[in-house]
């Protein structure tokens, strides 16, 4: 038996987070020698309870995605458990793991429905927008800037390009959205307590995608009259403007 407690603790957590243990196939998961003597049924119980707690956190962020999983739900959660070990107790961190898993899973096998990963990404975007707003200090709006008449994408905006117009899934629960290249922005509009999903024109989506930093309006080369849309984008909280009066 290893004498180092940390070694035993590492082995314990490895055991408790293995899919074969979580889902009850303990015969397929022999106890490491550092854990021998611990009651297996008790360990399986611990593994199950911990897993269910983690999945409650994740499920709270992905209600629509989980709804779309249908009969595949148990299989996908099992695969996720095997593939993504818990590294944090945070809602967003666990949700990102799940979104990444769903997103990459479609690269390996056919996903049903085909827009599942996009719905997952959108639900994560809604959670991130909400979390950002909780943390957003409006005082940073008046940070020092040498720029004049400059704009940038609001740092709380999540951009998402989809092959399906998945907004219908969120608007009315429609489970069969239209296949259409759709560019979305997710954010918390000013004065709102709930995040919103906007569809953007391709040129505006592309512009927002590159506007991480402040840029002077006069220097932007865009195929439309920017001043016409600045007001609208600002109103919806998609960009920040820095207008300096001389």
């Amino acid at each position: 038996m290893p004498t180092c407690l940390l070694d035993r603790q590492v082995r314990l957590l490895e055991y408790l987070t293995r899919g074969v243990v979580v889902f009850g196939d303990t015969d397929g998961a022999p106890l490491d020698k550092g854990l021998r003597g611990i009651d297996r049924q008790s360990l399986r119980l611990q593994a199950r309870v911990s897993h269910e707690k983690r999945m409650r956190r994740i499920g709270a962020i992905f209600p629509r995605t989980f709804g779309l999983l249908g009969d595949s739900r148990d299989l996908i959660i099992r695969e996720f458990t095997d593939a993504c070990l818990p590294t944090s107790t945070g809602f967003i961190e666990n949700a990102r793991q799940f979104r990444d898993f769903i997103w990459h899973r479609r690269e390996r096998q056919t996903v049903t429905p085909p827009y599942l990963h996009e719905v997952a990404a959108c639900e994560l975007g809604l959670a991130e927008a909400r979390a950002f707003a909780e943390d957003w200090d409006r005082m940073t709006d008046v940070e020092n800037s040498q720029s004049r008449n400059s704009i940038r994408r609001h740092p709380g905006v999540v951009l998402l390009r989809c092959a399906y117009d998945i907004r219908s899934v969120f608007a009315n629960g429609e489970a069969d959205p239209t296949r259409r290249d759709t560019r979305l922005a997710i954010n918390m509009p000013p004065g709102s307590e709930q995040p919103a999903i906007f569809e953007l024109a391709p040129a505006i989506f592309d512009l927002l995608a590159v506007m991480d930093d402040w840029a002077q309006v006069a220097t932007l080369d865009v195929p439309f009259h920017l001043n016409d849309v600045i007001c609208d984008l600002t109103k919806h909280g998609l960009i920040q403007t820095r207008l300096e009066i001389q």
Binding site: L5, Q9, V10, L13, S42, S50, E134, D135
Partner: protein, 297 residues
């Protein structure tokens, strides 16, 4: 002849602050003698959450509870985390800081559940050393909380209460006695909860947690396990155990933990009243007296 009247302050009774209940908590602040703040919310929570918590300073007494220390993980204690905890405690004006006598993860892996330690003298020594670091870093008394657990390490050669007492005795740390955890351990592992309470030395129980809601987990073994959920009213059996505790110990605070079914706020207020009904009157025979006033008779 000198007559001694023992005057013991009544324990403060309150709840663990939960952000989703912020507005309700503020509207009912007069119902609570104390709020227990999770220090990790003040460190890792959003600015909005932090603002809401620190806005409570001065409005109601606050005590500090942590979930992120993992004092039992066999790695050096995270001093940066501890310094942040110390800052939060100072801002809160909290009279004590409590954490679980447990571990929750190892570097790179976090289970998010409290796990027990092997109860041996060697492990106790390791925890004792860390408790001393906490005490040196944090300017208020440090309390350890007993956890509920599903499994035991085979090399444990001390009882739960012996292990806890040893660490508290060697460090002067207090105990945050979680009555529900004790009750569930009694059910799951055949412990005698009253014996546990009786074995605790006078003065060690500084705070108490109570909670309700337990789920029965069927297992393939003969005996099902019970797990706490913090979701329902405190069961009478837990209140009876609380009463037993209060006849022997005089904690400074009793905190109701509620984490699920938060919309059922009426249940929380009813539980407050039920808990208060178990608190002994001002003058009592409680042996764990904080203050003795002598008078010449």
């Amino acid at each position: 002849m000198r007559e001694v009247t023992t005057i013991t302050p009544r324990p403060m009774v309150g709840i663990g602050y939960r952000a989703p209940l912020d507005a309700w908590t503020r509207a009912n602040l007069h119902q609570f003698d104390v709020l227990e703040i999770t220090v990790d919310d003040c460190i890792f929570g959003s600015r909005r959450r932090q603002s809401a918590i620190f806005d409570l300073v001065g409005r109601v007494p606050l005590t500090a509870h942590g979930v992120g220390l993992s004092i039992g993980t066999d790695v050096p204690i995270d001093l940066r985390y501890l310094d942040k905890v110390a800052e939060v405690i100072e801002r809160l004006g909290a009279p004590a800081y409590s954490e679980h006598l447990a571990f929750t993860g190892v570097p790179g892996r976090e289970l998010g559940n409290l796990l027990p330690l092997p109860r041996t003298e060697a492990i106790a020594e390791s925890v004792i050393a860390k408790v001393r670091i906490v005490q040196a870093r944090v300017g208020v008394p440090f309390l350890l909380e007993n956890i509920t657990y599903f499994f035991e390490w085979p090399d444990s050669d001390m009882s739960d209460v012996e292990f806890t007492k040893l660490i508290c005795r060697e460090t002067g740390a207090g105990l945050l006695l979680d009555v529900e955890n004790l009750r569930l351990n009694a059910a799951n592992h055949g412990l005698d909860a009253d014996e546990f309470v009786d074995a605790l030395p006078t003065g060690v129980v500084r705070e108490v947690h109570v909670a309700g809601g337990a789920t029965l987990i069927e297992t393939s073994s003969e005996r099902p396990f019970v797990a706490d959920t913090h979701s329902h009213p405190v069961p009478d059996a837990a209140l009876d155990l609380l009463g037993y505790v209060l006849r022997r110990h005089r904690p400074a605070a009793i905190v109701l933990e509620r984490d699920e079914r938060l919309d059922a706020v009426d249940e929380i207020l009813i539980d407050m009243a039920r808990i208060r009904s178990r608190v002994p009157s001002l003058q009592s025979e409680c042996p764990d007296a904080d203050m003795s006033v002598g008078s010449t008779g």
